[in-house]
């Protein structure tokens, strides 16, 4: 709350800039900033590519969120069922994946799946199949990398959440003969709901904004731009050439979409009787 200013002020500026003509020339005072009204938005919505990219982003992000959450939760439950040594091994591996800088992680994955130089095709006997050429196989490869580097967050968080559930509750459920899935469904999930809500919202935000993985792994948006997502699109259209106003307009659109998703999600939760 103390640092709220640091967050609110830039967002306010962002909204303002999206209505102006604002490039590096304006930033450095070479030319005055002029008011454009909805000009930047009109330019954006008039671009057919924008809608195509938006659709791809939504679908790709949804796939990433679902896979990440599924893998993360499953492994978190698995962690509670094993002894210290395998647990530490899995945790360290996951932490390593999480801690690897995104650019490096993407590069390594690319090397692993390289048709000429990578070991994965060798192991799977795929010859020189290229993963990045087809639109869907390229998205799949990026999805795998995204899951690899973001499931540890879900896993560690949910695991910490499970540890915070009193052991007696779980023991009681186990004694009643409930199956693993039932314990998760009727005991753990409800108790962990506040944590799951956060993890879900965060994953939605991050995966919707995925940048580095796409940028590095598909060479800036794939063959003829087939793998563009919104953040990469914003970067290429606007930020790389200092057209901040257009970039801000894209930022505002992203903000509104994410806000809508978040609000709808919270509303659904509330309808189920869960309160914030």
């Amino acid at each position: 709350m103390v640092l709220g200013g640091l967050l609110v002020y830039p967002v306010y500026q962002l909204g303002l800039i999206s209505f102006l003509e604002y490039t590096q020339a304006q930033v450095s005072g070479g030319e005055p900033a002029t008011f454009q009204g909805f000009g930047n938005y009109a330019e954006l919505f008039g671009d057919g590519e924008f809608w195509r990219v938006l659709l791809a982003t939504v679908v790709f992000a949804a796939a990433c969120v679902v896979s990440t959450l599924a893998v993360g939760c499953a492994l978190a439950v698995l962690l509670t069922r094993v002894r210290a040594v395998p647990r530490l091994a899995l945790m360290l591996a996951a932490l390593g994946a999480w801690a690897t800088p995104a650019v490096t992680g993407s590069t390594v994955w690319l090397l692993l799946f390289d048709p000429d130089f990578g070991p994965v095709n060798r192991m799977l006997g795929l010859g020189d199949h290229s993963w990045t050429y087809g639109r869907y196989s390229a998205f799949l490869l990026v999805l795998l990398e995204v899951v690899w580097c973001s499931f540890p967050f879900v896993m560690v968080t949910v695991y910490a959440g499970i540890r915070a559930v009193p052991a007696e509750v779980l023991e009681a459920a186990a004694l009643d003969g409930a199956s693993q899935w039932r314990i998760w469904r009727s005991v753990l999930a409800p108790m962990l709901r506040p944590i799951l809500v956060v993890v879900t919202i965060q994953s939605v935000i991050w995966d919707f904004k995925v940048f580095t993985q796409i940028y590095v792994m598909t060479g800036g948006g794939g063959i003829a731009g087939q793998n563009l997502v919104l953040n990469v699109y914003a970067y290429q259209k606007a930020f790389a050439s200092s057209q901040y106003s257009l970039g801000s307009a894209i930022g505002v659109v992203m903000l509104l979409i994410l806000l809508a998703v978040t609000l709808v999600y919270l509303r659904l939760l509330r309808r189920q009787g869960e309160e914030l």
Binding site: G4, Y22, A25
Partner: protein, 432 residues
């Protein structure tokens, strides 16, 4: 404990209130001052192996300090990857700004448009060494007829080929672009494991010579008003020639469409390709690979036998910031950094090709490896449009998209070039 955070909120609120009316701009007019002593700040790019470069620069600084005893110089080496943020930030915050900077020559027009670089037309004209600077290098510091710095070094690409493979198959280095395509297919047919020539759909600088050799241009015009020429008949022929190298006869589209310049050099270095278009700066990477000792370099041929395809002249420049308060000193330091002597030493230390034609001949005599590159430069090179719009065109991948659309069969050459021309014109239009 409680007071400090509240104070911070108040402060933040005050700043918001004071500045809320408009987004910020900074006053970046030239300082008008021209002090003859004090501290000069210099930013140069940090190379992976930076020590030899530091030595050359230190020697220049030692001379400079002898001439100006009251002046201190601090040099910072910045990673190339961070240059965009840093240099923009320097334009926005004159307090942090250096006096002299090194910058990539394709960035010149953008920095000028941003109002960051000082106009040095007079100083450059009065500099006696400048008359030997080669024309493309001069073009790379010129925007709208005004000069904004001194060329520091050039980088240029030529054709690497595997001598062992060529000997075995009884082939000769190609003398025209058509021969190049035919040779590539012959190699791939005889040795299906090898690409005849490694080409990349995202390798813009490797593709440009094909367009230029066929008489095409990226864009035509002068100063602020450029118009795309990528869909002209000549340019389309070049695109056709380049994209015909993709396919199962040479470099399969599935693998090559996504490759960039570095990927093609890697393919060559690791022994996956019989030819590749690589820069003088790729030397080390090739030497470290399997191709070591089994390759030679010739200029990339043009359309007619014996001609050389115009290459893209990359490289870096040194310039003076508009906000400097030591203009005379800064210009002097810039000239010393980019002098014939310093460029010759920089070549010895780092292998960067000098921008002066006479110095370049001297180093070519010393080091036979650079001869094909020097010949390519001597045959005439070309440069990207000196427009701030180039940054937009480059970052939004207009040209790679065009090549990839053709390679993957999504569009024919005419349609892809037409779309690219439209996008380029949009960019030229909005950059003013």
């Amino acid at each position: 404990m409680k007071l400090a955070p509240r104070l911070a909120v108040l402060l933040a609120a005050a700043v918001v209130a004071a500045t809320a009316c408009a987004p910020q701009t900074s006053d970046n007019s030239s300082s008008g001052k021209d002090e003859k002593s004090g501290t000069l700040r210099v930013w140069l790019f940090q190379e992976v192996n930076n020590k030899p470069k530091e030595k050359v620069v230190d020697a220049v600084l030692a001379d400079f300090k002898k001439a100006h005893e009251d002046t201190k110089v601090t040099v910072e080496y910045i990673p190339v990857e961070t240059r965009a943020q840093r240099i923009k930030a320097a334009f926005n915050d004159p307090k942090s700004a250096p006096d002299v900077i090194e910058f990539g020559n394709t960035d010149t027009a953008g920095y000028v448009k941003d109002g960051g670089l000082a106009d040095l037309t007079e100083e450059f004209a009065a500099w006696d060494e400048a008359k030997d600077a080669d024309p493309t290098a001069r073009q790379s510091v010129t925007v709208d007829g005004k000069v904004y710095g001194a060329p520091y070094f050039v980088g240029v690409r030529a054709l690497y080929y595997r001598t062992d493979v060529f000997d075995e198959l009884g082939l000769k280095a190609p003398r025209t672009l058509d021969e190049l395509a035919a040779t590539a297919k012959q190699v791939h047919a005889a040795k299906p494991d090898l690409y005849g020539i490694a080409v990349g759909g995202a390798y813009t600088y490797g593709a440009m010579p094909f367009i230029w050799a066929n008489g095409g241009e990226l864009a035509t015009g002068k100063g602020g008003s450029y118009a795309s020429a990528i869909d002209s008949a000549a340019a389309r022929k070049g695109i056709e020639a380049y994209t015909s190298l993709f396919g199962d006869g040479n470099c399969p589209a599935a693998k090559c469409a996504g490759m960039g310049g570095n990927d093609t050099v890697t393919a060559f270095a690791s022994g996956k390709a019989a030819m590749a278009i690589g820069g003088d700066f790729s030397h080390q990477a090739v030497e470290a690979g399997k191709a070591k000792g089994k390759y030679a370099v010739v200029p990339l041929p043009g359309v007619k036998s014996g001609s050389i395809a115009p290459a893209f002249a990359g490289g870096n420049n040194v310039g003076v910031l508009k906000s400097t308060s030591h203009r005379t000193l800064a210009v002097d330091l810039m000239k010393r950094l980019a002098s014939k002597k310093a460029q010759g030493e920089l070549f010895d230390a780092m292998g960067f090709l000098p921008t002066f034609t006479d110095v370049r001949q001297q180093v070519a005599a010393k080091e036979p490896f650079v001869k094909p590159f020097v010949d390519t430069l001597a045959a005439g090179t070309k440069f990207v449009p000196a427009s701030p719009a180039w940054a937009t065109i480059d970052s939004s991948q207009v040209l790679p998209t065009m090549f990839q659309e053709v390679i993957s069969g999504k569009k024919d050459v005419g349609a892809a070039a037409g779309d690219a021309a439209r996008k380029m014109d949009d960019a030229f239009g909005s950059a003013g």
